[in-house]
């Protein structure tokens, strides 16, 4: 594992590397072919940018349109070190905030580059016509966002992810219209083809016809998102899955920090047993909403019956300098603590109030409506309660996964020629991601990193010409066909969803917001048992030669059933608390995460060792040249 971090001072590393990298002659670019899997912010921006440079590109997504990838659901905004507000922001501050927010478990050089290119992302999106919020004078508006003390977040109402994705989708559509990108919707990647140790292709299933096909390329880019759906209930779209990255893992790509998952503090609480997903309420709401629970245990009075003096605004109390804007992991854990103490609100007791009464009084209902109107509407639609009158109830939910395939500074995995972008890689957020940084990273990777690094790979690699009849392609296709046939042959008694729900519940309980040795060991015993029953008793009807949503889901759940074990293993191995990974055994006297820098300042990169062997862990030590890791304090 060589992270290929450039030499020299931090601020010059990226410029230096850009110069060191080999270029592909403009006339030769069209001779190279790149396969991009996923059409979210990272995938669409990469596919469009590579096609603009002249590479041949095939892009794949499981959705019925490239515009629907789950980046679309991000609400709050995108960070950039523009310092338009004159409030002390800089590249260095964005870098520092991101590294510290990640609890010093990310790679310095990558994070610095992310902060460096952040400003260009905003410029690019503006040029595409992304309708960012504006001030009356015509300049771009900013807001502050969870975990930051400067206003560096750019936004488009509560639909920033949608607007950025539509911008990237439009850039991609332009290239499709020009014939430079072949777009394959409703197509799912089911295997990676590795020839002579290099990623050379993928095997896909056409979700409408069921056709299995091999695609050959000179490089493969995975931008397939995170694996939060493993928990069954999460804020992910129902189709989000780990399949592409997991199957690449089985082909030799190392998986970095799989246990690093983010639990978002402001989601609508769970309501019933048939619930299929959780809905996030943008954390921008925390700019004006105040979070509280009753001081008394089991206080079941209506919120307006609880006098001010009997309320505990616990974030403001515990973290006076950040208050309601404390980072996500901290806010989530504090909510869990309050509920564990029996002070949670709502029928289940698993909820806390997010109250706008004071803000409405201070700013007027109109201002609040302007800022959060669509979010309030969404809340009312789901819960049937009017948040202008009754405080919202929120509870943490799985939202994002910082872990992902291990990549070097070039965003290349341990399989040469396999690049991994966006949430699918492990790189920039350490053990906790700051709000409004996912959009930034997805677009940084796709617009401004991969166009350079993939060129260097292609220019320095001699690839043999192969066709889809290559033995490795045949082998991969065979594995895929066998897997599908096996799922359809079981014809047991339980639905796919029931297994998914069972796994999700177990993972939430044992490998969720808080983890401990005994719980993780219990999960490691139970997951194989669920998996064994799955392959003996799952019921997938229909056939493989037509549109069959249950079959699609079955394949994804089968992968989750293996991947969950890897997560628990990683969580067990990391005997410290950091960011979103909270090991109950390792906490400070006042209940904060207790890092162990002496033993765990590394990335855990897991290698697949075969079907019946335990995966092997490798360590990439994290070296901090510029920043000295400190105890995160938001007090």
């Amino acid at each position: 594992m060589d992270a290929r971090i450039p030499a020299g001072p931090l601020a010059q590393k990226w410029d230096r590397r850009k110069f060191e990298m080999k270029l592909v002659n403009p006339a030769n670019k069209r001779k190279y072919h790149v396969l991009v899997v996923g059409s979210g912010l990272a995938g669409a921006s990469a596919a469009a940018s590579l096609a603009e440079l002249g590479y041949g590109v095939d892009c794949f997504c499981y959705q019925d349109s490239a515009r629907r990838a789950h980046s679309i659901a991000a609400q709050g905004g995108i960070n950039a070190a523009k310092n338009y507000q004159n409030d002390g922001d800089s590249v260095h501050r964005l870098f520092y905030d991101t590294l510290k927010g990640g609890d010093f478990r990310a790679r310095e050089a990558n994070v610095y580059r992310l902060a460096q290119v952040s400003a260009a992302i905003i410029d690019q999106c503006v040029a595409q016509g992304v309708p960012f919020a504006r001030e009356y004078g015509g300049t771009l508006a900013n807001r502050s966002f969870g975990g930051a003390q400067v206003s560096r977040t750019f936004y488009a109402r509560g639909q920033t992810g949608q607007q950025l994705l539509i911008g990237a989708y439009q850039a991609l559509s332009r290239q499709i219209g020009l014939g430079k990108v072949n777009m394959h919707e409703r197509t799912e990647m089911l295997d990676l083809v590795v020839v002579d140790g290099r990623a050379r292709g993928i095997v896909t299933r056409d979700l409408v016809s069921g056709a299995i096909k091999t695609w050959i390329g000179d490089a493969v880019v995975l931008a397939t998102g995170g694996y939060g759906n493993l928990y069954f209930l999460s804020t992910n779209a129902v189709g989000c899955n780990v399949t592409a990255t997991f199957r690449a893992w089985k082909k030799g790509a190392f998986f970095g920090n799989p246990c690093f998952t983010q639990i978002h503090p402001t989601c609508i609480p769970v309501h019933g047993e048939h619930q299929s997903k959780l809905t996030l309420m943008s954390e921008s709401l925390r700019n004006d909403g105040r979070i509280w629970v009753p001081k008394q245990k089991g206080d079941k009075r209506a919120p307006d019956q609880i006098p001010e003096g009997e309320r505990d605004y616990y974030l403001e109390r515990k973290y006076p300098s950040f208050g309601n804007l404390s980072p996500r992991d901290i806010a989530s854990r504090a909510a869990k603590q309050a509920c564990d103490e029996g002070r949670g609100v709502g029928e289940s007791g698993l909820g806390v109030y997010l109250d706008f009464a004071e803000a409405i009084q201070r700013l007027s209902r109109d201002v609040i409506e302007q800022r959060y109107g669509n979010l309030f509407q969404m809340y009312e639609r789901i819960t049937g309660e009017d948040p202008y009158k009754v405080p919202m109830r929120i509870y943490p939910a799985v939202h994002y996964t910082m872990g992902g395939l291990w990549v070097d500074y070039h965003l290349m995995s341990t399989i040469p020629g396999l690049f991994v972008l966006g949430e699918a890689n492990f790189s920039d957020h350490g053990a906790n991601r700051l709000g409004a940084s996912a959009l930034m990273q997805g677009l940084a990777d796709g617009y401004f990193v991969i166009p350079y690094t993939i060129g260097d790979y292609l220019a320095t690699t001699k690839l043999e010409k192969i066709g889809a009849d290559h033995a490795e392609c045949r082998k991969s296709e065979g594995t895929v066909r066998d897997g599908i046939a096996k799922l359809l042959a079981v014809r047991g008694k339980r639905t796919v969803m029931s297994f998914h729900r069972q796994l999700g519940r177990l993972m939430w309980d044992q490998c969720g917001m808080a983890r401990n040795d005994a719980g993780l060991k219990k999960a490691l015993q139970e997951i194989p048992a669920i998996r064994e029953e799955f392959w003996r008793n799952v019921n997938v009807l229909g056939d493989g030669e037509s549109l069959n949503p249950a079959l699609e889901r079955a394949g994804r759940v089968a992968d989750f059933l293996e991947f969950g074990e890897l997560m628990c293993r990683d969580a067990l191995e990391r005997r410290e608390s950091c960011g979103g990974h909270f090991r109950e055994e390792f906490q400070t006297p006042d209940g904060e995460a207790q890092r162990d820098d002496a033993n765990f300042t590394h990335v855990s990169a897991w290698e697949y060792a075969g079907p019946n062997a335990a995966p092997v862990m490798h360590k990439e030590p994290l070296v901090f040249e510029e920043v000295q890791p400190s105890q995160r304090s938001y007090k």
Binding site: D64, R68, G129, G272, T279
Partner: protein
């Protein structure tokens, strides 16, 4: 709640479809419409019957994947609500609910309630973008944009591309969808250089895909889960006429 569901079943694009009735007991009024269909599918699977295919993804009203005509209304009875955000409290115990796919010549049915909306993508590919490559963009604040213009652009850009406008229109017209994209980019200075060409190519592509024309029923506006105004259609028509008579 006890419900009777009349659901359109169609094996694939080639075979004829028909309604089939199912009864469902113990539906929670707090569950969403799609969660109700999830429960139906669980029960069908347990009985060995093929589950009902329908599209959905984000289930929070933003990706535009879900569709469905529910009792004849695109996305069901609630205003400004996608099917995935529709909750069963909008129905009553004992109701019969008719569930069909979005219907339009340009949206062929693929299976049960799943339709092919790729015509929308092809319309965007024809010109629904600003032709700028990655890199070299001027500073974001170099181009001041009046707040009212940015807001208007955002009103149009809020479109989620679900196709409810087409399904609701008696002519299966896609004019609200196309007008929303044209209106988004025409409201901004970045969209001006290609404004005429965009109006021409997108409208022509829309016609070629087999969508109908607009005859001012305003059903699209009523059905739109993002409340996009039909005024954008009038603006698009002006742009189109101007584009056809200009040389640009």
């Amino acid at each position: 709640m006890r419900l009777t569901l009349r659901v359109w079943r169609q094996k694939n694009a080639r075979e004829r479809g028909a309604f089939k009735s199912y009864t469902l007991d113990d539906v929670s009024p707090d569950s969403s419409f799609l969660e109700m269909l999830d429960v139906l599918n669980e029960q069908l699977t347990e009985r060995g019957e093929d589950p009902v295919a329908f599209d959905s993804d984000c289930r929070e009203g933003i990706c535009g994947t879900c569709s469905l005509m529910i009792n004849g209304a695109a996305h069901g009875p609630e205003a400004a609500t996608t099917t995935c955000q529709l909750h069963m409290r909008s129905f009553r115990d004992g109701d019969t609910i008719t569930i069909e796919p979005f219907r339009a010549r340009a949206f062929p049915v693929l299976c049960d309630l799943v339709v092919d909306r790729s015509a929308f993508d092809r319309i965007v590919q024809a010109g629904g973008f600003v032709s700028v490559n990655t890199g070299g963009a001027p500073d974001g604040n170099a181009l001041p944009i009046a707040k009212v213009d940015a807001d208007r652009a955002m009103d149009a850009a809020a479109c989620i591309g679900c196709g409810a406008c087409v399904a609701a229109c008696p002519n299966a017209s896609a004019m609200l969808f196309v007008a929303a994209k044209i209106g988004h980019l025409a409201s901004l200075p970045q969209g001006q250089p290609e404004r005429d060409a965009r109006a021409r190519s997108m409208v022509e592509r829309m016609d070629a895909e087999g969508f109908g024309n607009c005859t001012n029923h305003f059903e699209c506006e009523a059905a739109c889960p993002k409340e996009i105004s039909a005024k954008f259609i009038a603006a698009m028509n002006r742009d189109y006429v101007r584009a056809k008579t200009s040389r640009g």
